[in-house]
Symmetry: C2
Amino acid sequence: MQLTRAADYAVRVMIHLATLPPGTRVNRDTLAEAADVPAHFLAKVLQSLGHARLILAHRGISGGFSLAAPPEQISVLRVVEAIEGPIQLNVCLSVGGCGRQGWCPAHLVWAEAQAALTQVLGSASIAKLARESGGRRQDKVVYPWN
Amino acid sequence: MQLTRAADYAVRVMIHLATLPPGTRVNRDTLAEAADVPAHFLAKVLQSLGHARLILAHRGISGGFSLAAPPEQISVLRVVEAIEGPIQLNVCLSVGGCGRQGWCPAHLVWAEAQAALTQVLGSASIAKLARESGGRRQDKVVYPWN
């Protein structure tokens, strides 16, 4: 039960874009460096964010990637789900996933846990995180998974 | 970000054992049937629950598996962690997992989401779920993943 690396990277990318003036276009290499995302991983992450209409890809010399919506309107939950699909903490929570849900006592616990999780992720906006990141980074660090 | 099937099965097994009088020993086949866990999967689940000292394995003709502690003292979280290890919603939440945690705004969101999730799972006791399951099951159902 762990977030995928791609979802973690996607949140970093979105926070970085949200720290910039609205409409700013960032090329792939700069984004990989700024958000500390391995370049070979970034293409897939950007593709998923584009499909979810969270970022726009601009072609040409002045091209690059920009946010597709105001970051105040984008939650961490939305970014995670753009990568992983709708959060389903257990198979039984998917539509038609389990015939037991009418009586299974564990089903209610999984549903409550999922609600608690999505409530936290859904109420954290990318804009807020971008504001909180301002000036806090001291130096470049190396991550064990990069 | 989804619970493993093994953890789901482990919770079912524990709930079933908790519905029985204290000290009741149940053999593997009966447990597989009662908790709707595929027999080939059950051995590994029982082994993990035994290692975590949540169940006891008794040998001999009157052998079988029983709870190792009162179900009031066993939470869903403890059962899940017996199978999956400590819940870490993101790699960055593990000890020494990330050098960014001092300033990364996303780190706080992951930590808060994990706390919300573990609070729900930690406060749901197996005994409570066993009481809630009493008499609610109408008939045998077939699960899509069995």
